[in-house]
């Protein structure tokens, strides 16, 4: 008992308070917290003060008011009488439209460029290298300006549209394409499509398993593909009236009516994002393929797989482990870079946010909304991709 207290006394006296690590750490935390919180309080009080002095409101009540500004394009029907909140949603959807299509196209372009650069054909490899080295070293915004102002604005006027084979028209206003329009039988037909997808999926898994177990070749992919395409085509004729008709763009007095329009703004944003990000993805994919051991290629060739099979069955599954993490950050970069669309007038999230700030005069709330959406997208994407990444990582035994 007395021994214990004696030791305690020694401990206490041997480490003075100002050298006790726990005390120092505690103080450091309190000081840093006080510093950050003080900073925040300073800023927030300034905003409140400024808002009070200038008669600005900081609430979110304006989101129900009529927006009053037009937007050049929208995925969902929009007109200026809709509310601010609705306009904001249009901006989000436009950003998603640019980002999703951009991600898919950039991945395809990047993979092709990477394979071309690794190709045994010297000329093809050089072309891919030149593309990658040129595009990666020019700022995206400069490329967007080139696409929008120099390429797309240089196209002929709408009255003198270039007509491609078929009812496809290209002009300064954009690309006009025939659009599929559902008719009354569309609902019945879509059932065939869904059933086809389900059966094809089940068949593919089951036949695949059976082939793996027995070693007999029974073509799971081919069978599934036949079902996937066959059922909808059979259904197409069974439902009677054609479920989809094409709406062809027709030149009116000043512009085309009908069909589907790809605006120049969207086309410029998409072209810029895809070409730019494609070059970065190409480097990511190339690094991934190069990371696969040479022996893997040779062994796969030795067991008699064709070049395509080597890539598809041996190289890509292993390369994906190396590729996925940097690929995720490229996808996020593309999504964030889509905010540059504002420079060419494509009404994406940032564009709508900026217009809302001008119209509603509530800089801080609108700005917080814009930031929150980007942050939410970034964080959810990285969480989802990390889960996927963990699933495909090498399981070491």
């Amino acid at each position: 008992m007395s021994q214990d207290s004696h030791i305690q006394v020694i401990k206490k006296s041997s480490i003075p308070l100002w050298r006790d690590e726990r005390v120092i750490k505690g103080i450091a935390q309190v000081v840093s917290a006080a510093f950050v919180i003080g900073f925040l309080i300073f800023f927030v009080s300034n905003v409140l003060q400024a808002a009070h002095n200038r008669g600005l409101s900081l609430g979110y009540d304006f989101t129900d008011e009529s927006a009053g500004f037009p937007l050049a394009e929208s995925v969902i029907p929009y007109d200026p009488s809709k509310s601010f909140g609705y306009a904001f949603l249009v901006g989000i959807l436009n950003t998603i439209k640019a980002a999703l299509v951009g991600i898919v196209a950039a991945t395809v372009l990047g993979t092709v460029a990477a394979l071309a650069r690794l190709s045994s054909n010297w000329l093809v490899g050089k072309i891919a290298s030149v593309y990658i080295e040129i595009v990666r070293n020019i700022p995206l915004l400069v490329q967007l300006f080139i696409w929008y102002f120099a390429v797309f604005q240089g196209l002929p006027l709408v009255q003198e549209s270039i007509q491609w084979p078929g009812p496809i028209y290209l002009s300064q206003r954009g690309l006009y394409l025939p659009a599929p329009v559902p008719t009354s039988t569309f609902g019945t037909w879509i059932v065939f499509v869904v059933v086809g997808i389900v059966i094809a999926g089940v068949l593919h898994t089951m036949l695949g398993r059976y082939q793996l177990k027995t070693g007999r070749t029974i073509y799971p992919v081919l069978t599934a593909a036949i079902v996937l395409l066959g059922l909808p085509s059979v259904g197409w004729f069974l439902v009677g009236e054609s479920p989809l008709v094409t709406d062809v763009p027709v030149m009116g007095k000043f512009n085309f009516t009908g069909g589907m329009q790809l605006t120049v703004e969207y086309a410029a944003v998409l072209a810029g994002l895809v070409v730019y990000t494609g070059a970065f993805i190409a480097e990511v994919v190339r690094a991934g393929i190069l990371a696969v051991d040479r022996g893997q290629f040779e062994a796969a060739r030795a067991v008699g797989l064709s070049n395509m099979q080597v890539l598809r069955l041996v190289v890509f599954p292993q390369a994906m482990r190396v590729i996925t993490p940097p690929l995720i950050s490229q996808y996020l970069n593309l999504t964030k870079n889509s905010s540059l669309a504002v420079a060419v007038g494509y009404p994406d999230l940032f564009y709508v946010g900026r217009t809302m700030i001008n119209q509603a005069g509530r800089a801080v709330p609108v700005f917080l909304m814009v930031m929150a959406v980007y942050l939410f997208t970034s964080l959810t994407t990285s969480v989802l991709m990390n889960i996927y990444n963990r699933r495909i990582q090498l399981v070491e035994r």
């Binding site: 450091a28 054909n121 000329l123 072309i127 020019i138 120099a150 964080l379």
Partner: protein
Amino acid sequence: MSVTSTTVMRPPTPPGPVRWLKKNLFSTWYNTLLTVLAAVFVFFTLKGVVTWVFFTANWAPVTNSIKLFAVGQFPPDQLWRVGTILFLVSFLFGLSWCVWGGTVRTFALTLALVFGVLALLPISMELTLRLGFLANPVLTFIGYQVGRTPIGKSLWVVLGWLLSFVLTVFLLTGIEGVNWLPRVDTGLWGGLLLTFLLALVGIVASFPIGVLLALGRQSSLPVLKAFCVLFIEVVRGVPLVTILFMASIILPLFLPEGVRIDRVLRAMMGMTLFAAAYMAENVRGGLQAIPRGQVEAAKAVGLNNLQIMGLIVLPQALRLVIPAIVGQFIALFMDTTLAIIVGLLELLAVGRAVLEINVEWKLLNMEVYLFIAAIFWVFNYAMSYASRRLEVALGVGER
């Protein structure tokens, strides 16, 4: 054992051009097809580009506004300040070349060569400007010679660079009411000068903040760590445009009344905050690459936490991240173009303004923007080439 065979083994014949062609271009029928298609594509692309560049294109907006592209609306009678800064940089490159050698040599020689070419360009140019360009390679040479004297120590060179940075800012802004160095409004800064300045200030100012954030993220103090993680992830999660926009539109609201921050400075603050978050992640990469044994050994010889960080871990970690920082500088240099969205007259904005000068130039978008693209490409390609050399020189990824 006896040698039974007397035939001499010949070394394999070196592949001649024909064999090279066969192996790399015409190995199989589809490779041949691919080669032919690619050759046709290259031929028509090159033909189109060459005829456009030399015959179709009208370069008048570029050749008539070189000064605007270079320095924006900087007062012509004050251009000697920009010249002085270039002299200083040339001199310091010469000095660094002598002291550090290696990759810096490539940088210094390239820079000297570029100035030499500029001085001898066969276009109409004032004699003073020509002589000024010519003086740069000479100063690089003088710097190299100075480096061989006792001044040529690493410490002096680093101090020289830091001093040159301060001097640059000082020379460009000037002093209120001083006759020989009048104040130049930042609104007059523009072109390549502003582009470089934004990127340089961004990277230099973000360095200390980034190191602190990286250390904070690694620290064992939960509150401090949470703040650092929050800052880094929020900044990295949103586009640079929103941060620049915040710095230029929202920041003024956050300040007490009467306090005003210059527009260029606000953009610089935005760039710095943005760069700091990425810098922190780069530095963290370096910190994580230092083996635990280093920290444990340092503890064993009785260093305290501050000493371990300052003397053992950071010097090694920062050396590892130099190539990453060069890469980040390239990215930031490209990102400066976004300043156009908050209304600064950087290179791209100058391009847009130049198109408005003359009605006849209105449709010459391709010429102007390709010229800007070429400027960025040359600088970035040179920097990324040097960065790759640097990586090899530092042996990153080889240990």
